[in-house]
């Protein structure tokens, strides 16, 4: 068995192009670097990580960056154990975690977490109390909300998910999530589950919303990049990259890159709001 198939969740991006284009200003610091940078954790971060890695590796083929998912819990755990250089999390690491692993936190973007339904679903607007009733199982038929006469299938994330943590805290005001809810393992899996199920409701990072799923307006506010940015949509969170201790070398340069103009462009393109 090749190593690749063992880490089936891992998304190894390796673009090895012989010709390197001219270095832009943001990419200049990577000129003299080489080696392997390992990143894992939050699944909301992956699109940004992938594109940043691609640009860096195109500019300097000597650098290899591997990106794995796993969720916020995995990100914090693996960086704390020294298994990866950067551990991403979609929630702020707890004081206990910061203390135990001597974590350094870098918040590089703001992201909303939006309830989503299948595009075929007629229900595209809910009040927060309706949302809470749906997730607790009190409201269990779409008919009660003006939709089809079918049971509501609730989808949620595993307990270590940062997306779940934020949605539960701000979207559901820490209300209960029905034990009958389906559990999926990543933002991507949530999206395909909802895209497949016309009677499902779940939640994903705003950056992941595309034509596959339809966002649900919450108390009249449609979750979009604009509404998250101007603060009218409240269910939002920071996206963090964590390192064990002060980052050095390639790790530091990678994190710095996320704050450059080029980095901010990628963050915006992927549907997040770059941190100021």
């Amino acid at each position: 068995m090749k190593k690749l198939s063992i880490i089936s969740l891992a998304l190894i991006v390796s673009v090895l192009l012989a010709c390197s284009p001219a270095f832009s200003d943001s990419l200049a610091p990577f000129k003299s670097e080489k080696g392997l940078l390992k990143i894992s954790g939050g699944t909301a971060h992956i699109p940004v990580m992938k594109e940043a890695a691609q640009q860096i590796m195109m500019a300097n083929p000597e650098i290899q960056i591997s990106i794995a998912g796993g969720g916020s819990g995995v990100g914090i755990k693996q960086v704390g154990e020294g298994l990866v250089d950067i551990g991403n999390s979609g929630r702020k690491a707890t004081d206990e975690e910061i203390g135990r692993h001597q974590l350094k936190l870098y918040q590089w973007a703001i992201d909303g977490v939006a309830p989503v339904v299948n595009p075929q679903n007629k229900v595209k607007e809910l009040s927060q109390s309706q949302l809470m009733d749906i997730f607790s199982g009190k409201l269990n038929n779409w008919k009660q909300l003006g939709g089809a006469d079918r049971n509501i299938n609730i989808y949620t994330r595993d307990e270590a998910s940062g997306t779940r943590a934020v949605f539960w805290k701000k979207g559901l005001k820490k209300g209960p999530i029905s034990s009958g809810a389906h559990v999926v393992v990543s933002n991507g899996a949530m999206k395909s589950a909802i895209a497949q199920d016309p009677y499902g409701i779940g939640y994903v990072s705003v950056g992941h919303i595309d034509e596959m799923v339809a966002p649900v307006a919450l108390d009249g506010v449609v979750p979009t990049i604009q509404t998250v940015q101007d603060g009218t949509y409240k269910v939002a969170r920071g996206l963090y990259s964590n390192t064990k201790g002060e980052p050095t070398g390639l790790t530091k340069k990678f994190i710095d890159f996320l704050y450059t103009d080029e980095g901010k462009k990628i963050i915006e393109k992927r549907g997040f709001i770059p941190a100021q």
Partner: protein
């Protein structure tokens, strides 16, 4: 010189046998050790019979044990008649040339990674189950059991075929001499004589169904409530481990998955011993 070499080879084999068996025992010891703090805190009873609600401090794996049992037994129910039919066809009904090809095909099927079954299930079977029964999401016990049943069918079929092949030719010749039709031969000669081998096949396939992670993770819906019907989602022990492994190392959630590991381990061990026992008792009687 030759004896010397033999001695070295013997010792090397002994060493590898010792190592692999020591690792097996060490894994169990490790899981028990890691799960111990939780067992001390809440006791085995709480772990085995309480629901899973980590935010309320309840870390029971009872729903997962039920989920595993329901899905794997139901898959056995689907796989058994299928395998029986396949093995009859290969073993006696079909002409030699057809059965040879069929067997090759089934051998090939045992090698398909389970993730592919899961993937195909998500896109083909889930919408059908959802619309056919008009309730739920289609991610449910039934879907997972169907796909799991298809997954274990090749294994079970091959076991059945093997035990058919082991029947002494004299028995078959005797049946032929008495003028038995192929079906009569099957029912009155082959089946009774192959019984032990078939039971082994069923038990080992059950072990495979219980141990599989991806199909249940992708198709069973992973909810933590004990399902009331086969159309409701459920979570298996293996899927549970896969879902909780992301939790913080120090948390009781994480500790509890070692208990899941112990339960799975003991189950697999029980299956192995059962197979041993059955094979042994067969050897005694023949």
């Amino acid at each position: 010189m030759k004896r010397y070499r033999e001695l070295i080879a013997e010792r090397a084999f002994l060493l590898s046998a010792l190592t692999s068996s020591a690792i097996t025992v060490a894994i169990l010891a490790f899981m028990v050790f890691m799960g111990l703090p939780l067992l001390k805190q809440g006791g085995l009873y709480q772990l085995l019979f309480k629901p899973w609600a980590p935010f309320q401090g309840s870390f029971g794996i009872y729903p997962m044990i039920i989920g595993t049992g329901a899905i794997s037994l139901l898959s056995l129910l689907f796989a058994f008649p299928l395998s029986l039919g396949c093995s009859f066809l290969i073993g006696s009904i079909a002409p030699q040339s057809v059965s040879k090809w069929f067997r090759r095909l089934i051998e090939l099927m045992t090698g398909i990674p389970t993730v592919i079954y899961g993937f195909v299930g998500v896109f083909l079977l889930v919408p059908i189950v959802r619309e056919l029964f008009g309730s739920g999401s289609g991610l449910c016990i039934l879907t997972a059991a169907l796909v799991l049943g298809i997954m274990i069918t090749p294994t079970m079929t091959l076991f059945f075929c093997d035990s058919f092949d082991r029947i002494p030719k004299a028995y078959l010749d005797a049946a032929d001499a008495l003028g038995a039709s192929p079906v009569q031969k099957l029912l009155y000669v082959i089946l009774p004589a192959a019984k032990h081998g078939m039971i082994n096949g069923v038990i080992l396939s059950l072990g495979r169904a219980v141990g599989d992670t991806l199909i249940a993770l992708m198709l069973a819906g992973n909810s933590v409530r004990v399902a009331e019907s086969v159309l409701e989602p459920a979570r298996t022990l293996t899927a549970h481990i896969a879902l909780v492994i992301a939790a913080d190392y120090e948390s009781p959630e994480f500790r509890s998955i070692f208990a899941c590991g112990v339960v799975l381990y003991l189950f697999t061990m029980a299956v192995t011993f059962l197979v041993r026992y059955l094979t042994f008792s067969k050897d005694q009687t023949v």
